[in-house]
């Protein structure tokens, strides 16, 4: 067990280093931009995993949370004329509040009803931002959102932002990892299977559900804030049901409940359509078909499927070796 863990940790460190040096080799802004989008999406999916992946409740309102984070940060930087970092803190606070608010319905409504509530929530948020023209600029969107800066160093190019987002995502990954593989992760997961039994173990399930929702919302809002300062321009029309759906697709493709899977899900779903662009008119439909087939044939996520395949081949190879060995010894 511990040995396994050590190997895992080593793997992760190698991955981290590899990812850190990416901008040194990739000078292409387009690639860096896509990487940045991946990092932001990854944060959202890491959060979504707590609700949809672990406690098994369908949250289709991630775009609303994301939008709230984005607008909170953009608005406070604009109107109070302060650093985007304060915006990030505000986004965390906003995430906390949404989590408490959305967590409450999750106690009363379950399953598809909850997904409907969350869709409704996201739509209401989007429509509010579009129509509160005086504050948000309405459907004109907000422009010139300041980039992050640290001690006078401005994160204003894709390459610089990559480092910033990378560090934040890595930190988010670390926290998610620690929670998922702790007693909290365990109790979140058990809620998915049978809430009554959890309650009989003395766990206040209302409290736990709201915790899960809060973690999820904080991740979503933080990602939203990063997005606002990354794009420099936000518009309510971005935060649609389609966006929420995309986040859930990322989660599914990565595998429900798997933290590493979250990252890979974000990578695959962000990069794949870009890679399929050469198919012109057919790229979106091809992408959707691939995702659908993936859901049907690899229900545990693509990462799991690849790992299994890898194990199988290793097994086959080692079996062959063993056989050969036997043959030789004979």
């Amino acid at each position: 067990m511990t040995k396994k863990m050590k190997i895992r940790i080593a793997e992760i460190i190698i991955l981290l280093i590899a990812l850190l040096v990416v901008p040194l080799f990739v000078k292409n802004n387009y690639y860096l931009l896509v990487f940045n989008r991946i990092l932001i999406n990854a944060i959202v999916v890491l959060g979504l995993n707590f609700i949809t992946g672990l406690t098994g409740q369908m949250n289709l309102g991630m775009a609303g949370i994301f939008a709230l984070g984005a607008y909170a940060s953009a608005l406070i930087t604009r109107y109070a004329n302060i650093s985007p970092w304060v915006g990030l803190l505000l986004a965390i606070a906003v995430g906390w509040v949404i989590g408490q608010c959305l967590g409450y319905p999750s106690l009363r409504v379950k399953g598809v009803y909850l997904s409907l509530t969350t869709i409704g929530f996201a739509e209401v948020i989007r429509l509010m931002f579009s129509n509160l023209t005086d504050i948000t600029g309405g459907t004109q969107g907000m422009r010139n959102i300041e980039p992050y800066s640290l001690f006078g160093f401005k994160f204003d190019t894709q390459g610089k932002m990559y480092y910033l987002f990378f560090v934040i995502t890595a930190f988010g990954f670390f926290i998610a990892w620690r929670i998922v593989y702790s007693k909290w992760g365990r109790v979140f997961k058990s809620l998915r299977d049978n809430a009554e039994a959890v309650e009989m173990s003395g766990v206040d399930i209302a409290d736990v559900k709201i915790k899960a929702f809060t973690i999820c919302a904080i991740y979503g809002a933080v990602a939203g804030a990063l997005y606002a300062h990354f794009m420099g321009y936000i518009n309510p029309s971005t935060f649609t049901i389609d966006m929420s759906t995309n986040f859930v697709i990322m989660l599914l493709i990565g595998g429900l409940g798997s933290v590493i899977g979250n990252i890979f899900g974000a990578i695959i779903v962000t990069i794949l359509p870009e890679m399929l662009r050469f198919l012109d008119d057919y790229y979106l439909i091809t992408f959707s078909i691939i995702v659908l087939l993936g859901a049907i044939f690899f229900p545990n996520g693509w990462v799991d499927a690849v790992v299994r395949l890898g194990k199988k081949t290793i097994n086959i190879i080692s079996d062959k070796r063993a056989e050969n060995g036997k043959a030789v010894s004979r």
Partner: protein, 374 residues
């Protein structure tokens, strides 16, 4: 100062030079909404730009015989996608970019094109685009300011409106126009009421009924294609008696086709472009386009055909594929005749300064007049 940086910029320079000396194709990018909620507009954009490029290539290319190559990316009418597409095209070393279309998308890519210094021609009509002061962003359609004020003035001066009612889409397109019309009415002492709706709404009874009870005698409608067609039906069915001046959509075949003739008979539309105009350029363009694609032209094809013309002419005028030079050449554009009118770049990078008014008579947009604004 940094040796690395200098060597880097040198190397990019040399690649550009190399490209000039060889006869590699000149790359132009197009960001269009080929999928998503407005795929038709994207398709027209692509068809028109392709048509223009094919013509130049057939005539021997530009810059002394170099072919023009079109790279098309789909932005699904989403802002982050538009930015991605623009970055992709920039990394593929296009000389200039046509699109993205919607104002919101243009605003989203604005900073990127400025930083990268790549001339971009958008059809976004929001007034805020010309306030950006972005040297690299050009606009190949008239601003909403012009459209909306022409529409309001037309309703008052020519149709004799005493009280104007405005039905507008709450997105930046409709809301921008609403603001202008409201100001116009206030300034001219005309009665005014307005009601908004959201993209995708399908029932406007409440808004239209309100216009009726407010007793408006002229109606301005500012929205997108499918909402416009539904408005036409519901105004007819609810029996609202008012003269209608509409956003450009009503002059387009695809919108007209969605209406029964009686719904829109006598409606006026302000538009960049009417294919029934007697103007020679228009007739010629319509002929070429319908020969190739079997359909009549409308404002998307006309506008973006124009965009392709300006960009290519500017590259030719600059005599190089250097983006800054092309940008400067674009700024010098004047007297270039295109289907949407005579293109002339002003100090805010607007290229189009006239709009047309057309009346729908028996499902046919009939050109009435062209109004120029300085």
């Amino acid at each position: 100062s940094n040796p690395d940086e200098t060597s880097e910029s040198e190397s990019t320079n040399s690649t550009v030079e190399e490209a000039t000396s060889t006869s590699e194709p000149v790359k132009i990018g197009l960001v269009a909404m080929l999928t998503g909620d407005n795929p038709l507009n994207g398709e027209r954009m692509q068809q028109a730009v392709q048509l223009a490029i094919d013509e130049y290539n057939a005539a021997g290319g530009i810059l002394g015989g170099r072919e023009i190559e079109l790279l098309v990316e789909d932005d699904q009418t989403l802002q982050d996608m538009a930015v991605t597409c623009v970055e992709k095209l920039i990394s593929e070393e296009v000389v200039g970019i046509i699109g993205p279309h919607r104002s919101t998308n243009a605003l989203a890519v604005e900073a990127t094109v400025a930083t990268a210094g790549v001339p971009t021609l958008t059809g976004g009509t929001s007034p805020s685009i010309s306030e950006l002061g972005n040297d690299y962003l050009f606009r190949i359609r008239a601003s909403d300011e012009i459209f909306a004020s022409v529409a309001a003035a037309y309703a008052v001066d020519e149709l004799g409106a005493k009280k104007i009612g405005m039905l507008y889409n709450s997105d930046d397109y409709g809301a921008g126009a609403e603001k202008i019309v409201a100001e116009y009415c206030k300034a001219n002492g005309i009665g005014y009421v307005s009601e908004g709706h959201n993209t995708g709404d399908t029932d406007f009874t409440a808004q239209i009924t309100k216009m009726g009870t407010e007793g408006v005698d002229a109606l301005l409608i500012w929205t997108h294609d499918s909402e416009l067609a539904i408005h036409a039906r519901q105004i007819y069915e609810l029996g609202l008696e008012a003269k209608v001046v509409s956003s450009p959509g009503i002059t387009m075949q695809q919108v007209i086709d969605m209406c029964e003739p009686e719904y829109i008979e006598g409606w006026q539309g302000v538009t960049d472009y009417v294919f029934t105009s007697t103007d020679e350029t228009v007739q010629e363009f319509n002929k070429k386009f319908s020969e190739k694609y079997g359909i009549n032209t409308e404002l998307y094809s006309a506008s973006y055909y124009g965009a392709a013309l300006v960009l290519i002419e500017a590259i030719e005028a600059a005599g190089t594929t250097d983006r800054t030079a092309v940008m400067e050449a674009l700024k010098k554009t004047s007297d270039l005749s295109a289907p949407v009118g005579v293109l002339e770049c002003d100090d805010k990078n607007n290229l189009v300064h006239s709009v047309n008014v057309a009346e729908i008579i028996n499902k046919e947009p009939v050109f009435i007049k062209s109004i120029s604004v300085e």
